[in-house]
Symmetry: C2
Subunit: 417 residues, 2 copies
């Protein structure tokens, strides 16, 4: 029988009524002829309660015990979901991580999958079970201890099961009804996408469209698992939501699929850096050691010609605004230690990043020009530009962020399907 | 190293402060040189919450899913207790039932132990761990599903571990500070016993002294596990509480150790039952089929001599007062079906049972006479008498129950050590 993986996050199973609602969606897929593996999170609030108890009990807690305590939240949902399905005459049973077993590394709190053997669950499907309800976010280490996967672990579990069982699709039920061309709170013209490529989703996710965890999209891309994002709280059918898939499945050829933004950026510029071989590493090494996530980097030649003795350069980069103090200290320490020399450090904490993303960029020219023209028409000054194969990002004054998103959404006609 | 089992019930681990308090008691035993196996219940209220969710989700729930959901409560406590002990620099780890593994039958909700292999926990003790915190009330079936043990399961888990690991003692921490000669609410003269024999404890437990579950005492008696009952909420040392042990360990030789009572009794009398061979089975068979727990049984010859043709007898028995309707229906149905014939059924729902219990009775004569004299002195009329090797029970009007308990406590001088 064809197999589907369905994943329900914490808000989708927040209480018994929502578990009932989720079970209805599972039953509908069973009625369509699918065997289903359901991945569930803990009822929302429960994980926080358990984490609170652990942290109150022990500040520097043993991560193995943390995992043993916190994983129980998903186990409860799995049992309740199986019971609800049984009440609907759907043959179902729950599976805890160690029962499958979901074999992981021993990196408690951020474990990685080693293997998900199919035999136990396949045997139950053969016996006539139609649904396996699996507790997400957890596994078992080679030492036989319970592990958890860290942030977004239930999404990752769903994708890993879809890959292991060759599922036709992995449906991620959440509190939004799909992926939009941009944040609908910024422009009413934002349009839900029917399909989006893995690469585009990765760029959008890392830029702040917080629907799917990056790691789960990466995993889906690697194993070519078709992901569908759709709403738990609406009536859904086979055409609902947004399909995240390989670009071969995408027939549209728009240059740009979406406009992303990130509000909490800061721009840092080192002025008159002595420009010699190894200077970039002298700057970004200390920043990395200090745990600063540097995003965009631009180097400008100032005063003299590059490569000549005595030449200096300006080095500009962006960091999350809450890491500015750490970044400044890392630079000042590096200067004091003689690792790098610069004249001044200029910090602008009032910037935002806006990006256009689209796999169509690979084949279409003029996207950047069109983007810059749209911003210029609104008198938005561009401070930094960075590009990748399927993305162009600009740093601008934060007060223009919404305006820029709206202008770009219009310029690329994203409201049109 | 000598080994101790310590068990903490739901009220003893009701919140983080109480878990801390329990952990202090464990640390004290480790400091005395013991390796410790700690058996924990769910934080009080948690099991009810989980059971409520299961019952709301599915009326005729799958007991396997019930167990999977409900067992998570104990797992949480086990992890938190291990963390608390680690914070106190006591090397500890948690164990869920399947990790030990606690092998049980597949009778979900009322599973029985099959085996508790020592090797995994012993290996950890060898590595320097001093405490194994085990989730009580649960195990794993031969099918690999999570099982629970039913009422009193955590006490039973504690005794089973004490037997499997040859523990020096099994300490049951609860909300009372020991076993008393009778209920202190009935007489201020009630005295805490230092020691009590397994057999006495069994008689007291089944008669309503609800400190230890009958099944755990039976198990302790069979494997000669010394049980100690003591309070979680008081400072305790090696002499605290009451030791429940083999009678060989008891040096005192009082005839009576305690006075028990049961308030919720009813007396039923079948008048003029046709007395022929098999009549007892004709009466008590249907009662058993109806799930009625018959306790005391007395047969009086009325009118004619027993054994003669046409003779009749009165048959009196006691049942829990909430089973009276069921018992009456069973008797009326049996009469209608011609299984038993009787003239009338007299029911007295206003009775109580009072018992004196003591292993000293085996060697001392006159206990019954002394009991009846004490009751007669207070003008308490005895309705039914039943005796066993170490117990004499009487059924009396309920209004005299407290008076009878006080009189018997005085008569046997139980206030004196």
């Amino acid at each position: 029988m064809p197999l589907l993986v369905m994943k329900f996050g914490g808000t989708s199973v927040a209480d018994l009524a929502r578990i009932e609602n989720a079970a209805q969606k599972v039953r509908a897929e069973v009625a369509r002829g699918y065997d289903v593996i359901v991945i569930v999170s803990a009822m929302s609030g429960k994980t926080n309660e358990l984490v609170g108890w652990v942290e109150t009990t022990s500040k520097l807690y043993d991560a193995r015990e943390y995992d043993a305590v916190v994983a129980s939240g998903e186990n409860v949902t799995a049992g309740l979901m199986a019971l609800r399905l049984q009440e609907m005459d759907v043959p179902a049973r729950s599976w805890q991580g160690w029962q499958v077993p979901i074999n992981t590394t021993s990196a408690h709190g951020s474990a990685r999958f080693l293997s998900i053997p199919r035999d136990h669950i396949d045997a139950k499907f053969s016996e006539g079970f139609r649904v396996a309800v699996v507790a997400g976010f957890q596994g078992i280490s080679t030492e036989g201890r319970i592990t958890t996967l860290g942030r977004g672990g239930s999404d990752t579990t769903a994708v890993a099961f879809a890959a292991a069982f060759g599922a036709e699709r992995c449906d991620i039920y959440t509190d939004v009804d799909g992926i939009y061309t941009t944040d609908p709170r910024i422009t009413g013209k934002a349009r839900k996408l029917d399909r989006i490529a893995f690469e585009e989703m990765l760029e959008l996710a890392s830029l702040g469209a917080k629907v799917l965890q990056t790691r789960s999209v990466e995993l889906a891309m690697r194993y070519k698992v078709r992901l569908r994002v759709l709403s738990s709280f609406e009536d859904t059918d086979e055409t609902s939501g947004t399909l995240v898939c390989d670009e071969e499945e995408i027939v549209e050829s728009k240059a740009v699929s979406g406009v992303a933004y990130s509000r909490d950026e800061a721009k840092m510029t080192l002025l008159d850096v002595a420009d010699r071989p190894g200077v970039a590493s002298a700057i970004f090494g200390p920043l990395a050691d200090a745990g600063v996530n540097v995003d965009m980097i631009v180097q400008n030649i100032s005063e003299n010609l590059a490569g000549h003795s005595g030449a200096t350069t300006d080095m500009t980069f962006s960091v999350p605004v809450n890491q500015v103090d750490r970044a400044r200290k890392a630079m000042e320490d590096a200067r004091a230690a003689g690792i790098v020399s610069y004249d001044d450090l200029v910090i602008d904490t009032d910037v935002a990043k806006v990006s256009v993303v689209g796999i169509g960029m690979r084949s279409q020219v003029g996207v950047a020009a069109r983007m810059f023209a749209a911003l210029a028409a609104e008198n938005v000054n561009i401070k930094v530009i960075a590009t990748s194969e399927i993305k162009i990002s600009v740093l601008i004054d934060r007060k223009y962020m919404e305006l820029a998103v709206q202008a770009l959404h219009d310029a690329f006609e994203l409201e049109k399907a």
